[in-house]
Symmetry: C2
Subunit: 159 residues, 2 copies
């Protein structure tokens, strides 16, 4: 798998990367208070993949395959984190990848919710109270919602 | 990826599983004191893949693909662990898989050391002092050796 310059090899790498992200990746939609926005909250979707820094090469390969995102050092736990936060990149590059090469664990369910949220954001739904309310409901069905700073009802109560 | 009953689909699943194991798997060779053995130590190679129990399905699929190993609950951290500890299965099923569908991170280096050790064990090297000494040297080049109960020099000093 040294070179991926044929469609067949790129397809094989794509499967591999879906498997890797199924294990190590996280689809996440977080919310930050933003008084300047009409709904009072910013909606922030991201895909992140963590890795110990001695195995950076796999993040470089994934970044090259997706053609977007940044690798940064996470000082909290001494890992490297490859992140895609641009809504445009998520919609044009990341979502089509996982639609074509789905994950086989329950993480695919998170991805489907994530994809739904990103597509609603593209239409500006997150900027209206009704649209934002629906996004909150979808986001809090995703795995890992237990670790959130704000509860669903806390955010809803501010709308 | 619901059915994998053609060679092409099985090949795609195999790439996926190599990616998943690259993220979540651990090739390990551990050593236990065994007074009854001539060298005084038992050599125990294993591949293990951990997963939160709410995502068991991916472990089931990997187990079916490899056709060996067991899934057990790990009470220490509330995860499920899929493990292959049989030397025969490691040599006949696991090692050929990762030779054909290699990992792209530094974990592949661990695999090569792991494979070397398993093949030496098949020839009985771990039961002779000289062979065991070489196996210890190889095993302590593998990642994660920092978490070991015994240091390399501690084991060597008993031979």
């Amino acid at each position: 798998m040294e070179n991926y310059n044929t469609p067949a090899l790129k397809r094989e790498l794509s499967r591999y990367v879906s498997g890797y992200v199924d294990g190590e990746g996280c689809f996440c939609v977080s919310f930050s208070k933003r008084g300047k926005l009409k709904v009072g909250w910013e909606t922030k979707p991201s895909l992140s993949v963590s890795q110990n820094s001695d195995r950076r090469e796999v993040l470089d390969i994934i970044q090259k395959l997706f053609g977007c995102g940044f690798i940064r050092r996470d000082y909290s736990d001494k890992t490297l984190k490859y992140e895609i936060r641009s809504l445009e990149d998520l919609i044009e590059k990341i979502i089509p990848h996982f639609e074509k090469f789905p994950m086989i664990s329950g993480k695919q369910k998170d991805f489907i919710l994530f994809s739904d949220i990103c597509k609603r954001m593209k239409n500006g739904s997150h900027l209206t109270t009704e649209g934002f309310r629906k996004i909150i409901q979808l986001a809090y069905q995703m795995n890992g919602s237990g670790k959130r700073k704000f509860t669903e009802s806390k955010i809803i109560s501010t709308l």
